[in-house]
């Protein structure tokens, strides 16, 4: 009987120890843990207006540390990278994003460079084509002539050369 009592007490104490060891751990992690690498993967594509030109993942100020913690919180709540960036852009302006968002006047950043590049290519191609034709017969477009006309041209050239030799 006494032996049974001790077994029960031991079991109850063990159970209590297990429960006590588990509960604080549950309280400390209300959200799934998010690693620094996951936070920095989002942060490296953002900039803090307080410390300009320093990516958020390496910015040492307290403001940036708070921003990184906010990213960690949002990630733990299941937000996607896009949602987090959108949230930060709405809160602090588009300038916090490394890449301008595809909306409004920002579209010019994506449209103008390739447009100018294509226009440049067309201009270069046209100049190149004109210069090639110009090299064949400078300054004029060309068309073919018959063999009879060709011999006439050659004869006139011969005569012209002979006349020049006589004059000199």
């Amino acid at each position: 009987m006494k032996k049974n009592r001790w077994i029960w007490i031991t079991l109850l104490l063990s159970l209590a120890a297990v429960v006590m060891s588990v509960r604080p751990a549950e309280a400390q992690t209300p959200f799934p843990p998010v690693s620094d690498d996951e936070v920095n993967a989002v942060a490296k594509e953002m900039y803090c207006p307080v410390c300009e030109n320093i990516p958020l993942d390496v910015c040492p100020t307290q403001a940036c540390a708070q921003w990184r913690e906010l990213i960690r919180l949002k990630l733990s709540e299941g937000w996607s990278e896009g949602q987090i960036k959108e949230y930060f852009a709405n809160q602090y302006g588009d300038r916090v994003l490394e890449e301008p968002p595809r909306r409004g006047l920002h579209w010019l950043v994506y449209i103008l460079p390739p447009t100018f590049f294509i226009i440049g290519l067309v201009i270069v191609w046209r100049v190149f084509r004109t210069s090639r034709k110009g090299a064949a017969l400078p300054g004029a477009p060309v068309e073919t002539i018959s063999p009879a006309e060709e011999s006439d041209v050659l004869r006139r050239i011969e005569e012209d050369l002979q006349r020049r030799e006589r004059d000199s």
Binding site: C48, P49, V50, T61, Q62, A63, Q66, W67, E69, L70, L73, A89, N90, Q91, Y92, G93, D94, L105, L108, L112, T115, I119, A136, L137, G139, A140, P141, V142, E143, T144, I145, S146, P147, E149, E150, S151, V153
Partner: protein
């Protein structure tokens, strides 16, 4: 042997269609206008004393919208702060005391603008210093861009006519310093 050769003809350069030339000029002109607009905006200086302050809306942490257009006839004290800003802590209690002093008269409105901050820490800061006057985030940094702030803390005093009356860069050292600015502005 007798292969055809090429013959000279009149030089007739090809021309681009008129609409292409027109479109190219239009795009170039639009681009120049855009650059000019951007440069003009970038070179605009801060609001100077006596100048009319553009109207704006502050969205408070409580979800209220405060439009400065509705505050004409009152002195507005606009304080830019952040929870990570240590000098802001120096003046927080004095600003709250000044707010409590002027609140019964209804002639002075205190507004806090939380600049580039995170909401949980900002709310913690307001709680820590028992700040009860309206505070809200500087959404998309639009308000700070109006004043071209250079950091925090900065406090702007707007007179009852809506003109900028005084600017304080850095923390106030006492409540008397705050009151010395406000009192002459009260009609």
């Amino acid at each position: 042997m007798n292969e055809p050769v090429e013959k000279l003809t009149e030089n007739q350069p090809r021309r681009l269609p008129r609409w292409v030339v027109g479109l190219a000029f239009f795009i170039l002109l639009a681009f120049l206008v855009l650059i000019a607009w951007g440069l003009r905006r970038a070179q605009q200086g801060p609001i100077v004393i006596g100048q009319k302050v553009p109207y704006f809306t502050l969205h408070t942490f409580e979800g209220e919208q405060i439009k400065t257009a509705d505050l004409l006839g009152k002195v507005v004290v606009l304080n830019f702060w952040a929870s990570w800003c240590k000098p802001c802590e120096q003046e927080a209690a004095d600003l709250q005391r000044a707010y409590e002093f002027y609140a019964p008269s209804g002639q002075v409105v205190f507004l806090g603008v939380d600049w580039v901050d995170t909401e949980p820490e900002a709310l913690g800061y307001l709680d820590q210093f028992n700040i009860t006057y309206p505070n809200g985030p500087d959404l998309r940094t639009k308000i700070s861009q109006i004043f071209r702030t250079t950091g925090v803390p900065e406090t702007y005093f707007i007179d009852p006519e809506g003109n900028l009356a005084y600017v304080k860069k850095g923390p106030f050292l006492s409540i008397n310093e705050i009151m010395a600015v406000i009192d002459p502005l009260i009609p």
